[in-house]
Structure formats: C-alpha cells, structure tokens
Amino acid sequence: MVERYWEALKGVKDPEIPVLNIVEMGMVLGVEAEGEKVRVRFRPTFSGCPALRLIHQEIEKALREAGAKEVEVVEARAPWSTEDLAEEARRKLLGYGVAPPLPLPLAGKDPPCPRCGSQEVVLKNTFGATLCKMLYQCAACGEVFEAFKTV
C-alpha cells in the first residue's frame, strides 16, 4: 500500500526544475499509511522556496488519485542537502542543461560546463532565476548556464 503512494509521489515534479520529481530530489522523508489516511514527511530544499505551497497541493492531489482519502503533509525542519539527490537526478539535471551540484566537500568550487565539460567557467551571479541555482558562463564554449547550488 505504501509503495503505491511512493510511486504516486514520483509523479510530483519540482515546478522549478520540471525534470525532477520530489522523491529523487530527496524531499520526501517518509510515507505512512493508516487505512485511507496518508501522512507524508516532507522537507523543502530552500526555506524561502515559493513553490512550496504548490508542491503541497500536488502531493495531496497525487495521493488522493492513488486512493488516499485523507492526506497530511508534515514539513520537517531538518536541513536538506544536495547529497540527498539521487544519482539519476544528477544525470537528469545535466541532460536538462543545469550543472548538477558538486559533492559537499567541494562546495564553493566551480562546476564544469554542462555543455562542453570545460573547467574554465566564470561565476556571473551567485543567484539565478530560482533560489537553488547560480549563473555561470563557460570561457571555453561561451555557454551561459545555470548550476545547482551545492548545499
């Protein structure tokens, strides 16, 4: 039964990075089911994320479609880390043109260009179009790209 709900949650995308779902992002900490009541422990990536309310609604919708009659979403305060991203999620990010986060000990280093792989990149802005990304330009191929912040 719980497996079915986990599967349903895999259909909930992060609205700001629509190639990733909230399970492979490591945002779901646990799912418990008691009869038709489902309780999800959920952890936001960045605390000020404007997509949170939407994600809550999508979780509820997905679980109801999977058969839940009552849904409770509990927000955990424990910090989220890019270490919690599944390997598959990193590959998807790269395919989407976003440099995936680096391993935590390398936080503060620059990521290679997702287009040509060059290490010669220049940080243009610590902040990007969403809270979780920074803006870079590759000095080798000229590509302007977003990089997921390593946190």
Partner: protein, 252 residues
C-alpha cells in the same frame, strides 16, 4: 524539551531574529524592478525571498513554543511591538547603502548561525543549520559587492564610505543581549552574542579595509529593540496594508 523558565526568553529571542529577517526582506524587496542591472534585480529578489523564508522558519519555531500564528505576527502587530534592530529598518538608500548593510548583516548572521547549530535545543540547532547553508551565498554576494564598490570608481567608493559611516554604529545593536538571553546562553540554547562581537568586528574590519573602506569609530547605538525610527511606520503601513484591508481573506 525546553525548561519552562526558558520558554519566554526564547520566544523573545526568536522574535527578534524573525523581525530582523522580515524587515530586511521588505527593504530588499523594494529594489525589485529597480535594481541597477537585471542580474542584480534577480539576485536581490532571491535575497528578499530567502530572508522571508527565514522569517517563516523562526516564526514556525516560535509557534511550537507559544502557539502564536506567524501571519498574525507579521501583518497585525503595530510598529512598537516589532523587535527588529534599527539597522534593518533604515530606508534602502542607494545601491551602496543597500549592499553595505547587507554585507554587515550577512557577516553577523553567518557568525551567530554557525554557533547556533550547536544549540542544546534541537529544533533551534536544526533551523540554524538550514539557514546557514543559505546565508553562505548571501555573504559571498554582498562581500563581493563591498569590494567592488570600495575599489571601483571614486563615486562608488565615496557612496560606500558614506553608507558605512551611517550604518556601522547600528551594527553593534545586533550584539546587545535581550533581558532573557543570559539564562538561554547559560543553558546552551543560544550563542553568547556579546562574545561574538569582537571576532565579528575583526572579520568585517579586515574585509572593509581590504576593500579600501574605513569603518568609523563611535556613533549612536540604539539601547533596546523597542527603539525604532519613523521609517518603520511607513514600511509596515505598506507591508501590512493588504492584510489589514481584508483580514478575513482566505487567499490574496
């Protein structure tokens, strides 16, 4: 669990932190659509959003302690009930003023949040670890801007120095303990802010001097967090206007 005698003290402490973040977020948001270049417009919107997110984290923590509704606290308190430091309520000024203030505040937050990750009160330690990850990026951004302004053109240097003259004394208010802080520090719940003032001054002075700026000496330091300038009134009037027009609204 937290001992009952510490609860009120922690509620006061958390409210002061939350109000600093909230008022600063509002000031930052005033730049949205008006920043000097598009990238900075985006960056400052990010900063505002982060600080507002942090307000939410702190007020969530407070709600667990005393049940206070975060929305009521934000939208329906009167100016004299706000516990923010004067530093964050001063008008946004020019770009140099905004960035110098941001740097001074970010350096302070990074310092105390790092200490607070060791808090004996687990929810506070968790919140601090979460916020610290995000604040690291703020400091990176604002410290670069201080350098750029300090060492840029004659005009950018002059404006940054003028901003520093006004802002620097107010920074010291951030390290003043609240009446209940001593008990919290003793119980290992919050860091001793007074002990952090010297390392802070050393760190920021070094960066300011490297950037060609001179931190001023002396100046007026507000005596308590009940003290506010007239600027807080107009800021709140704008921030709270929609909520107060229609307090029963379910969504805006």
């Amino acid at each position: 669990m937290l001992e009952a005698y510490l609860k009120d003290a922690l509620v006061a402490r958390i409210t002061a932190w939350a109000d600093d973040e909230l008022i600063l977020a509002q000031r930052l948001s005033e730049w949205v659509g008006h920043a000097p270049i598009l990238e900075e417009d985006i960056a400052i919107a990010n900063l505002a959003q982060d600080e507002l997110g942090h307000t939410k984290v702190w007020l969530g923590l407070r709600q667990e302690l005393d049940g206070a509704d975060p929305d009521r606290l934000v939208y329906f308190r009167d100016p004299l009930e706000f516990q923010n430091a004067v530093l964050v309520e001063l008008p946004k000024g020019d770009w140099a003023f905004t960035m110098v203030r941001q740097y001074l505040f970010d350096a302070y937050e990074n310092l105390w949040l790092k200490e607070a990750t060791q808090s004996a009160y687990a929810p506070l330690a968790e919140a601090a670890s979460r916020l610290l990850k995000e604040e690291r990026f703020h400091l990176k951004h604002s410290s670069l801007w201080v350098e750029r302004l300090g060492q840029g053109t004659e005009e950018s240097h002059r404006r940054a120095q003028e901003a520093l003259e006004t802002l620097f004394p107010y920074v010291r208010q951030l390290f003043q303990p609240l009446p209940g802080d001593e008990a919290l520090v003793e119980a290992g719940v919050v860091p001793d802010l007074r002990a952090l003032e010297a390392p802070y001054l050393e760190e920021v002075t070094a960066h300011l001097v490297r950037s060609g700026l001179r931190p001023p000496e002396g100046g007026y330091v507000p005596k308590s967090r009940q003290e506010h300038t007239e600027y807080l009134w107009s800021l709140l009037a704008e921030m709270q206007s929609v909520a107060r027009w229609d307090p029963e609204a379910q969504a805006w």
